[in-house]
């Protein structure tokens, strides 16, 4: 009898998900990779990380969203201990440092879900509900 974990048909998943065959790195992408590696080896300079930029932009926007209601004087009143609100620059710097150090985000993000807000507008209610339902184990 097969093991329970061996019952699935890998070949069928491959046919359905990769009908054209395994992913292949094209010549353009390979040349670009070689160029980036050559440059990095020659310069040993800090390299730009293209995908981090959007993450930082979103993180900054998120931090701004958390902070703006306070700045505008429309709440929320903090009702208990929880998330330290920081400016977006600090938050973005912290995120960049975590990524640099390969910190497991599940270890740092759960702090967020402990917070309690009493914001008035609909979007803030949504955020509060999202925080309450946030499950770091799903990350």
């Amino acid at each position: 009898m097969k093991r329970r974990t061996e019952e699935h048909d890998s070949a069928r998943f491959q046919r359905l998900l990769e009908p054209e065959g395994p992913p292949r790195l094209d010549d353009r992408a390979a040349a670009e990779l070689d160029r980036r590696v050559r440059e990095a080896m020659a310069a040993r300079a800090p390299r730009p990380r293209r995908w981090v930029r959007p993450v930082l932009a979103v993180a900054a926007a998120a931090a701004l969203f958390l902070t703006l209601p306070h700045l505008a004087g429309r709440g929320p009143e903090r009702t208990g201990p929880g998330l330290e609100l920081v400016d977006e620059e600090t938050f973005a710097a912290a995120l960049e440092q975590w990524l640099d150090e390969d910190v497991d985000l599940t270890e740092v993000l759960p702090d967020v879900r402990q917070d309690t807000f009493e914001w008035n507008d609909e979007q803030s209610d949504y955020l509060r509900d999202g925080l309450a339902a946030f499950d770091a184990d799903q990350l």
């Binding site: 974990t5 390299r47 998120a62």
Partner: protein, 201 residues
């Protein structure tokens, strides 16, 4: 099951001690030897070729930064794949947080498969194949990052559970369980839609 050729099988001896200078000299060779395989792993995990290209570059640049700490333990490709999978996991986790956070004026990226149009009678087999693939891709994207990674490594790459466990940082039994649950979800979708085993396009 995909056969994964090891570096040793390709004439690259494993466990060859290297110092930092030697590793730096060999690094361009390592890149050429492993880039295709690492890229395939990233595409299979991320389901996005552009993101995979970005993380492929990031993998080698990150490895270059850490070259002095590499001592030739294990095959270079395994070391590079570990970096790539770690980056992919963090990328998926960051993306999940990004989707989850309700940004002011922004749009949420989460997709509800149930809300997608159900093409009961696709005009031709190519369209049917595309639809099948699209629905499975969406289902995969909705899985937790570790599940996506473990499924891809097992069913699309044919890697052992021990290797998967090492790459995702879990016990081997946990890796088996994650793969089984994820594959079961996809199997249910395939079964419910009556997709044939022979569907290839």
């Amino acid at each position: 099951m995909v056969k994964v050729a090891s570096m040793a099988e390709r004439g690259w001896p494993a466990d060859t001690p290297v110092d930092g200078e030697e590793a730096r000299r060999l690094f361009p060779h390592w890149v050429r030897q492993s880039r295709g395989s690492i890229y395939a792993t990233l595409v299979r995990i991320l389901r996005d070729e552009n993101e995979a290209e970005d993380l492929l570059q990031e993998t080698y640049l990150r490895a270059l930064d850490r070259l002095d700490s590499y001592r030739g333990e294990g095959e270079p490709e395994a070391w590079l794949r570990r970096i790539a999978v770690r980056l992919a996991l963090n990328h998926l986790r960051a993306s999940r947080v990004r989707r989850w956070l309700p940004l002011p004026g922004g749009s949420r990226e989460a997709v509800d498969p149930a809300a997608l149009p159900d093409h009961a009678a696709p005009p031709d087999e190519t369209a049917a194949g595309g639809e099948r693939r699209r629905r499975l891709e969406i289902l995969l994207r909705e899985q937790p990052p570790r599940a996506r990674v473990a499924f891809a490594l097992r069913h699309l790459e044919g890697r052992s559970y021990a290797e998967i466990a090492s790459l995702i940082g879990s016990a081997e039994a946990t890796a088996r369980s994650i793969v089984f649950r994820t594959a079961s979800r996809l199997e249910r979708e395939i079964h419910q839609r009556g997709w044939s085993d022979e569907a290839t396009d």
